[in-house]
Amino acid sequence: MSGIILILAIALSQLFLVAAMGCNLYRMVRGPRAQDRVLAFDALYVNAMLLLLTFGIRSGTTLYFELALIIALLGFVSTVALAKFLMRGEVIE
Amino acid sequence: MSRLLPYPLLTVSLVVMWLLLNSFSLGHAILGTAIALFASRAMVALQPSKPRLRRWDLIPKLIYLVFIDILRSNIAVTSIILKGGHKRQTSGFVMIPLELRDRTGLAILACIITSTPGTAWVDYNAANGRLLTHVLDLVDEQGWINVIKRYEHLLMEIFE
């Protein structure tokens, strides 16, 4: 019983996260401004990372943990670059 | 000592990070220490301002405060969003003069403010210490200022 609940919960949370990613996608596509897209892009990364974690739980393996770690630590690099590009028109000065 | 261990706290954190990533074994402790020492040496090249921690004992209090605040804000923002965010007209910018000057302290403050749903660090003038924040639910402007000021004072106590 608890197993079923868990599996359902995993499925539900994955669906939630995919739906969240869908919302992010909407902002990425529609904008309206570049900053909206960047913001949504950053959120997409985080949501993907969470989805990964749920996937890890679902499959019972920690193989994907590093990927989540990398997203957490380095995922923001591209967002920083995007933000800086918006602000300064140049990523590295 | 300081030449060998320029950033002791950093080095220790890195060793802990290594052990968290791998496993708590003697081999990894040795390897992790070596790597952490190397990484700290690399940090010397960048010469960041060295934070001086004065009040270790206040850190748990800070963490607790943040934990609670974030939890509360989560609930608040969730309700705002779910209640139909686009009908409200309460968000706005708040300008707060800060006295905290320590860069590390300010960085932590920025992280706290921004991580807390509902408030965001927008702009900061290092010359006069004025901070512009954006607040999602701006019904009580002074209340927000107080919240932030409280963090500020705590951080000033820790770092200055």
Binding site: S2, A43, G60, A72 | I81, P117, D123, L132
Partner: protein, 126 residues
């Protein structure tokens, strides 16, 4: 290789709870991104996901693997720390960039250039 269905009931329920809460918060944040009106408002939304959203899921993960592996698995703490440290950087940079862009285009009601920079304290509120 282990499987989550091997979890004891309490752990399974705990994991399930945190998972649903975490993803629910994240979804809420994403909906906020969708529904909130201005960029500065939308900016707050994803932090739901990066704080308690992520936190809950990470707790679920820690619980799950600690119980399965019958020893504490604490990798996830690192993820939490990293997310908490890096997300604000992005948001700060982005918010300031947006502010600049809106100012430069005199777009909407954003605080003027004077807000943080002025010598006097009085003016500058939107």
């Amino acid at each position: 290789m282990t499987h989550p269905s091997d979890l004891p009931a309490w752990a399974a329920l705990l994991v399930a709870f945190f998972l649903v809460v975490g993803s629910g918060l994240t979804l809420t944040g994403a909906i906020g991104l969708l529904r909130l009106k201005s960029f500065y408002e939308r900016m707050h939304a994803p932090t739901l996901g990066t704080t308690w959203g992520a936190g809950s899921i990470l707790i679920a993960s820690i619980t799950c693997f600690s119980v399965l592996g019958s020893r504490p698995v604490l990798h996830e703490i690192l993820i939490t720390v990293f997310v908490l440290v890096t997300t604000p950087v992005t948001l700060m940079l982005l918010a300031r960039a947006a502010l600049y862009r809106d100012r430069a285009e005199t777009n909407g009601n954003v605080p003027g250039f004077e807000t943080v920079d002025s010598l006097g304290d009085e003016e500058g509120q939107p």
